[in-house]
């Protein structure tokens, strides 16, 4: 079969990429181009492999690993192939982008970065394909560790190391729960091969335990609130193409895991599973986007927006599970395809956004949007890419973000059929309303991000001296941008792939997902149906534009004079521009309880009172979960440890006493046996 060979070749290429850096160390240029070309080709092969799988059906490969757990196979079914293709797509873009971007790092441990980059891709590919518990966990942890090193790459700054540390510890704890879930399954079905794992063999209570462990474990990786705190720290710390990869693909491996568990291993569960996921999802979405909105660090903002999008994906999954447990397989299909479609979309536009942010960062060396501005004139192509990503993230038609948002809305709309009664109706109504709120907030957030970063006058010297990004970077971004537009305008294609991905699972039916005409998507599940014609919407928009244009020319083309912006007669300068802080102020005030600002102060930087004032406005947000939960937890643990340490007093007499005591205790205890 073709797929196997491609798969092997891909692994080999990535490995060569890893090893190559040890030999091309002396010339940074060669290292850069060779390693990233390896990654590029590997990703291309990944896509090919996925395509072959979609054409020829699932492929299975035995991996050359000798461990006392039986043979380790890699089973590429449709689900794996879908995510594999995702890695391929984003990976290709970032690899091309890396050619230009990593020139920043010629003096800063480039070989390590390039090697780890390949290792990262390799581990992700393995996570998505291996079908053996131990192999999965190994790949999973390797992925975490490698990404940890990448996050920590610029360890000259202390904060990066700290972020990396928090990231690794959080994900490690998450892995503990994943291990528990897997082991419980494995014991229940007395096998460690994915094909044998079946939740039905486990008692109901244990199934619930497995479910909870899986949610916590994968949720940690997915940046689900309240175990999300690592994400906004780790993503900004990493180099931008890595951040793109992490945010676009690595988070999705968690979704992959959830799909495996909820669709395949655990089987159909009780209703409350789905509801739990729904609640977590909506909380994640709202909190994420709120924090994103009030953030000034461009990459942190994107990271928080990733949290929001994971929330939306979770909504899809949760709705699907509710429908599943209610035996409405058609609607479950719709919901899950909404989730998967959003996985795809988020991978595209978030990687695009991070690459754009990276381009900005590279030329201006600042991530603080308050110091940017006016970049649209300096770097027009980057601006276009970022605009596309912003519109897509704000899930506005006609770009791809809207399609999955629409599907999610649809699946939530039919939720009352599964959740009977007033409560169900109100619950789903609130879910939809909050999802709407999320959408609006996302729009506002990215208006702010794009507007402050790219529009108006430059707010700082480095922003004024910015230049367009390197061509390879533009190419990388451009590819993704085009994909964004295409998958928004022809949603049918992607939806077909998604539905085929879900075809493998017996608990969902995607029969109703196919719409007969090429320009529209739609679904029918039972008597429910919904459809959206991208072409028609486009036509309407186009007609509107035409009308506008006609009006414009109808009355003769008037002269266009140039006049300064109206600022009440003063010569405008960048200090008069509206800031991101100001833009989000009103929201900060309305959602005080969540985004409670630690302090807002007006500092006069001018020492001499009478020499006029030089005012600076500081805001610091108090992060709810950190200040209320994680901080106290940490302190109490440290205190407890300090207390426990008092047993090691250093007195030898006491030590001998311990032995005495333990002997006596055990002797007494042993009498009973």
């Amino acid at each position: 079969m073709m797929a196997q060979d491609l798969y092997y070749l891909m692994l080999v290429l990535f490995s060569t990429g890893v090893i190559s850096v040890f030999f091309t160390g002396n010339s940074r240029k060669i290292t850069n181009y060779f390693a990233h070309s390896m990654a590029l080709m590997g990703c291309a092969l990944g896509i090919l492999c996925a395509i072959f799988v979609f054409i020829q059906g699932k492929a299975s490969i035995v991996l050359p690993v000798v461990l006392p757990f039986g043979s380790v196979t890699a089973n590429i079914d449709y689900l794996s192939a879908f995510f594999l293709a995702l890695v391929g797509m984003v990976g290709m873009a970032t690899s091309i982008y890396a050619y230009g971007y990593t020139q920043e790092y010629y003096q800063c441990r480039l070989p390590a970065m390039a090697g780890l980059y390949n290792a990262f891709l390799l581990s992700m590919v393995l996570v998505l394909t291996v079908s053996h518990v131990v192999a999965f966990i190994i790949a999973w942890e390797v992925m975490s560790v490698v990404s940890f090193f990448l996050v920590n790459h610029e360890h000259d700054k202390k904060v990066n190391t700290r972020s990396a540390y928090i990231y690794l510890v959080m994900t490690h704890i998450g892995t503990v729960f994943i291990i528990i879930a897997f082991l419980l399954l494995a014991i229940g079905s007395s096998s460690m091969d994915f094909s044998q794992l079946q939740g039905n063999l486990v008692s109901a209570t244990w199934r619930n335990v497995i479910f909870i462990c899986a949610v916590i474990g994968f949720g940690t990786k997915a940046g689900m609130v309240p175990v999300h705190i690592w994400l906004p720290r780790a993503h900004p710390a990493a180099p931008s193409h890595i951040s793109a990869l992490m945010s676009a693909v690595m988070l999705k491996t968690a979704i992959y895991g959830m799909c495996r568990f909820f669709l395949e291993f655990l089987g159909i569960g009780p209703l409350w599973w789905g509801i739990v996921i729904l609640v977590l999802g909506i909380i994640t979405a709202v909190i994420g986007v709120l924090y994103a909105f009030i953030e000034h660090d461009l990459k942190r903002l994107l990271a928080y927006s990733s949290i929001e999008n994971m929330g939306i994906i979770l909504l899809g999954i949760g709705a699907g599970m509710v429908f599943m447990s209610n035996q409405q397989l058609g609607l479950a299909g719709v919901a899950f395809s909404a989730a998967l479609y959003h996985v795809f979309n988020h991978a595209l536009f978030k990687s695009l956004a991070f690459m754009g942010a990276g381009a900005v960062l590279k030329v201006t060396h600042t991530k603080n949007i308050e110091q940017l501005g006016g970049l649209i004139k300096k770097m027009p192509y980057t601006a276009v890419c970022c605009l596309i990503s912003s519109v897509a993230i704000a899930s506005l038609p006609p770009l791809n973000g809207f399609i999955s948002e629409w599907l999610t809305f649809q699946s939530l709309l039919f939720l009352p059929q599964a959740l009977a009664g007033i409560t169900g109706k109100v619950f789903s109504a609130i879910l939809i309303a909050l999802l709407g709120l999320t959408g609006a907030l996302a729009a506002a957030c990215f208006v702010e991000a794009f507007g402050i970063t790219f529009l108006a006058k430059p707010r700082s010297k480095q922003a004024a001296e910015a230049v367009e990004a390197a061509p390879s970077m533009l190419l990388g971004m451009g590819l993704v941008a085009i994909l964004c537009v295409v998958s928004g305008v022809f949603p049918k294609v992607m939806l077909t792939i998604v539905s085929q991905t879900l075809m493998g699972f017996s608990n969902v039916s995607v029969g109703g997902l196919v719409s007969d005409d090429w320009y529209a998507i739609g679904f029918t599940a039972g008597q429910n149906s919904g459809d959206f014609s991208a072409a028609a919407t486009l036509l309407l928009l186009a007609s509107g534009l035409v009308l506008a244009w006609l009006l414009y020319i109808a009355f003769g083309r008037g002269k266009v004079a140039v006049g300064e912006t109206w600022t009440c007669g003063i010569v405008p300068n960048s200090h008069m521009e509206y800031t991101a802080t100001g833009f989000s102020k009103s929201i900060r005030m309305v959602f005080k309880s969540i985004v409670h600002s630690h302090y807002e102060t007006l500092v006069n930087a001018n020492d001499y009172k009478y020499h006029g004032q030089k005012l600076f406005y500081h805001v610091r947000i108090q992060y709810l979960f950190v200040s209320r939960f994680y901080g106290p937890l940490k302190n109490s643990i440290i205190q407890g440890a300090g207390f426990m340490k008092s047993i090691q007093t250093g007195s030898v007499q006491l030590y001998v006493g311990y032995i005495m005591v333990v002997t006596v205790v055990i002797l007494i205890w042993s009498i009973g046996w």
Binding site: H155, T161, Y165, V169, I180, I638, Y658, V662
Partner: protein, 490 residues
Amino acid sequence: MGELLCLALLVPILTGLLSMFQTTTFGMKLINIIGSGLTSGTLVGIIYKIIVAGAVQYKMLYVDQLSAVLLIVVAVLTFTSSLFSVSYMEKELAHGHITFKMLRRYYGLLNLFFFTMISVVVVENLGLMWVAVEATTLASALLVAFYFNHSALEAAWKYVMVCTVGICLALLGTIFLYYAQVNAAGPHFQALSWLALKESSPRFDPAIVKLSFIFILIGYGTKAGLAPMHTWLPDAHSQAPSPVSGLLSGALLSCAIYGIVRNLIIVQAVVNQEFLQYLLIGFGMFSIVIALPFVLVQHDVKRLLAYSSVEHMGIIMLGFGVGTSAGVYGALLHIINHGIAKSALFYMAGIITQKYQTRQIARIRGLISITPLLGSMFIITILAITGTPPFGIFISKFMIVGAVFASGRVMLGACMLLLLAGIFAGMLYYCLGMTFGSKPKHPVTPLTIGKPAMLAMMVSVVLIVITGVYIPAWLNEILYQASSIVVGGS
């Protein structure tokens, strides 16, 4: 075969004696590298013999697959530690921390230490095993006290006192076992011969055997650093010269565990299985629990590693305590992995302390920017020791956890995993602090890492990485056989 065994015992003694009479550092180095090479070579030969021919008895000596597992550890560590000692001690000499006379003493004692450890593994008689274990204490005591400064003496004193008390209890236990044997067997029997005990064990009086095992467990457990008898361990490990710390942690603790296991095999024939499992699991779990706070709040890098040893001994005990073949397999594999990884870590810690002239974690900064190779090896090994894939320790840890789950003790397994995660957090926190961050303010002694030392560490790291993805068939065979010896019946 018998010759090989004798040779293995003889070579270290000779090396020791020879190095006592050396007059040049070079000769000293040469003698020891050759000697340790020979020793390891012989041990490897023995292991090979065991693989092909199975268990062998020769007069008072007896080796089977179970001993082979320990022999692997001892072989590797003998070699690496004396390789490392060569350059480490050279540096100490250069720094003027020690005199040439002390160097002689060091190598003499080191080889004696090798000898005692090997003899623990190869003797057939449980009484002699006790003697050997006690001998390891005495041989290593003077190594712990090597520098004869205040804290070294203190550590040594506690080490000897606590361990000897423990070992006395083990003797008591052994005597009770002998008593059981006397009662059970007729007039003619080999006293305390392990094989004899094994075949006649079903006829023993359970009450006495139980009593004896309690004492033996506590006694050897003291030596193995099981909480709460672990109190000597951090002091000794932190004060001994780094190669010795590596040996203590990697090999000596394992030897003590081996002593427990040998007795366990006898005991479990008559004593209530559940009782034994509770006992072992209890000690194991308690060790992990006790280790956690000391790892979370720690200021001394070598103490940090020492407490991690306590934790790992706990894991190993859990593996044996579960009692299933998978668990024992995992535990034995863990002995090997831990031995190699932890010794490597102690070597690195040794170099770090030489570089920074301090063991205070807070004063060690930016290792990776000073020596990138060492720094990366350090962080990799730390990741390995905390049970992160794709390193060997993860495999054995996972097997043990899996066995715990499989034996139906789900809560126990979950708690264990969480505790290990906590220890991971602690270790990594300090590791990152040392490895990364800005260069230290106070000057760092410019010293190059000696080639032998580098070789020693490299070998260990490579081994760790390999065992993570590839367990050779012969090793698998040995472990499988050994576990079936422990579990009983094959």
